[in-house]
Symmetry: C2
Subunit: 192 residues, 2 copies
């Protein structure tokens, strides 16, 4: 087990409905020292690819992306989930459906922050059915930029998101892939 | 002028309606090296107070808070702006009105992440009329925790938020206080 899998075993809570609660360190209270370790790990895994920008999506992805970006020496752009009066000018948009919230959102990035020569690392906390990730890829494609890689903290390996992304040839590095969870016993099975 | 004021002059854009757009480095594209400098500055300004946790609010505050937290060696908790199906258990809530979005939101923090012995530094990107900040203070008070200080990147000094907070005796350290803006000339006046 790596450091993130160990932390999930220690502090993650399995709930009915295939919900894995990691809000004590990943997406409500944030352990920035853990994020720093994740950054070092992704920097090692993506050392052979060119990356000049990190793209993530609000809200939980932002903290991880910002700490990770310090390892790559690049800026972060975060996609917004709804129209904001402060977002003027031309925008890239994609419609995505949230697994957690069961609703549809517009994912929005201002055109001025994505360029055709950008080599982008996508960072997010969770990958389940992958709709948010598909929206981010759509936006990168609209900009004519390229996806250098995708770093996910926790992938739910029993849902289809990761498989679809790998089938499409993207380089996806999930730090923990959960293949099964049992709400009755609290047991979590990771992919080897 | 300090480093943040210089950056605002260089990359900020003044729009009609007292809007200061800093989305190229502060709240859409994120300059994490700048955030790191801000962290060092707040660490210096708050060196005499005890801080064991940083509290911020989604979404723009999260990235700043996480990079800043590395300087203090403490975790971050971010308040959520709407009810989430993933947020179970007992929560602290406060109702706040957004200056930017002209709507009311429930600000929510899970009770398990705020304790009576917490000494909290609040971090956020903007302070205008201060409603979001008042909501965070309300939640800290509900928890019986204490506010060690408040670090704001950009305070709009011509709105009442900062004055109210200082009148109430909170220690507020805004890195840039904008006393006036002119959309016609693009001129920005900082408080000395």
């Amino acid at each position: 087990m790596n450091f993130l899998e160990e932390r999930i075993i220690k502090d993650g809570v399995v709930k009915e409905g295939n919900i894995l609660k990691v809000d004590s360190f990943l997406n409500h209270q944030l352990d920035v020292e853990l994020f720093d370790k994740m950054g070092a790990e992704w920097k090692e895994r993506f050392k052979d690819v060119e990356i000049n920008k990190i793209l993530t999506i609000e809200a939980s992805g932002i903290g991880i992306a910002c700490v990770v970006a310090r390892h790559f020496g690049v800026p972060v752009v975060f996609a917004k989930k709804s129209q904001s009066v402060n977002l003027d000018g031309e925008m890239y948009t994609a419609e995505v459906e949230s697994f957690t919230h069961k609703n549809k959102n517009q994912v929005i990035v201002s055109k001025k922050f994505l360029n055709p020569d950008d080599k982008i690392l996508i960072i997010d906390d969770f990958l389940a059915n992958g709709c948010a990730l598909q929206g981010l890829i759509s936006i990168i494609n609209q900009a004519g930029a390229s996806v250098s890689g995708i770093g996910i903290a926790i992938e739910k390996g029993f849902q289809t998101g990761g498989q679809i992304i790998r089938n499409m040839g993207y380089r996806l590095e999930s730090l923990a892939i959960v293949d099964g969870m049992d709400a009755a016993t609290g047991e979590i099975t990771f992919r080897k």
